[in-house]
Symmetry: C2
Subunit: 159 residues, 2 copies
């Protein structure tokens, strides 16, 4: 358990990190906004999956996932195939064009980070990645309808 002051610091740093995300976002191709990029990258990383699984990985509501997926499907970067085991479901899969886009995105993020982090050591980059992964993990599934905080009553109305 860390000291309160350190939690405060971390909260401030997390709030400020949006600037970096926006900086990375500005490097994206004009036809592939952040939401689309995230869908493609997760499908590349984890292989084909259903909408609900993707929503979980994106950590957003399924309605949001549906919109992003509709966009990349329209670009023909993914296919939405019927799930033989459950007719309500759809299986999402990258197309060859989608794979090409993923490669492009990958190269872009490498170029951008190489530019900004040229003076970081290998170790530092890995350390930050690792801590961010752990942070994400500690928060678990903190989507609106999923996890509730233990002191909800004093904050945003639960509905």
């Amino acid at each position: 358990m860390a000291a309160q002051r350190h939690y405060e610091d971390l909260a401030r740093q997390l709030s400020a990190i949006g600037a970096v995300k926006r900086g990375l976002g500005r490097g994206l191709p004009h036809d592939c906004p952040g939401g689309s990029a995230a869908v493609l990258i997760l499908l590349d990383r984890h292989g084909e999956m259903r909408m609900s699984r993707l929503a979980e990985l994106l950590a957003v509501d399924m309605s949001v996932t549906s919109r992003h997926v509709a966009h990349v499907a329209e670009k023909e970067w993914i296919l939405r195939e019927p799930d033989p085991a459950d007719k309500r479901s759809r299986i999402l899969r990258l197309t060859p064009a989608g794979q090409t886009k993923v490669n492009e995105l990958s190269e872009l993020s490498i170029r951008t980070l190489t530019h900004y982090l040229h003076d970081w050591s290998d170790d530092e980059v890995v350390q930050l990645s690792t801590l961010l992964a752990r942070l994400r993990d500690s928060f678990g599934d903190c989507r609106a309808a999923s996890a509730r905080l233990p002191f909800e009553e004093t904050t945003r109305t639960p509905a």
Copy 2:
């Protein structure tokens, strides 16, 4: 200079960290959205300042800053006083009510992080804070109109 593969990992983790930010955001008071909270916290942290300086610290365009500031001013959490040295400028300062709000925000972030990161050590929290600060620093002022990447021509149109 880190290996390309590590940059890719970091890009993925950064993209996923939005979930944590949203989780923290859901704990905010209903009358104080993220933009307002950021303004208050920076004024508390750095003391009174001009709009342009605040925009720089927020790492957003001044038009955005102006909107957030107008909101917190309407709540009477800050004052916008004329700058005697430059009549175009305004000096922003927390009111006592604003200070109270800052304290409330601080307590909220501590409660939320204590809840989610209960099994993190002091050292780990500090390490993550430090790396995030360094990351932000390495990106410098990467706002849209400020910094330009060296390979712009293949990405979003420069204008």
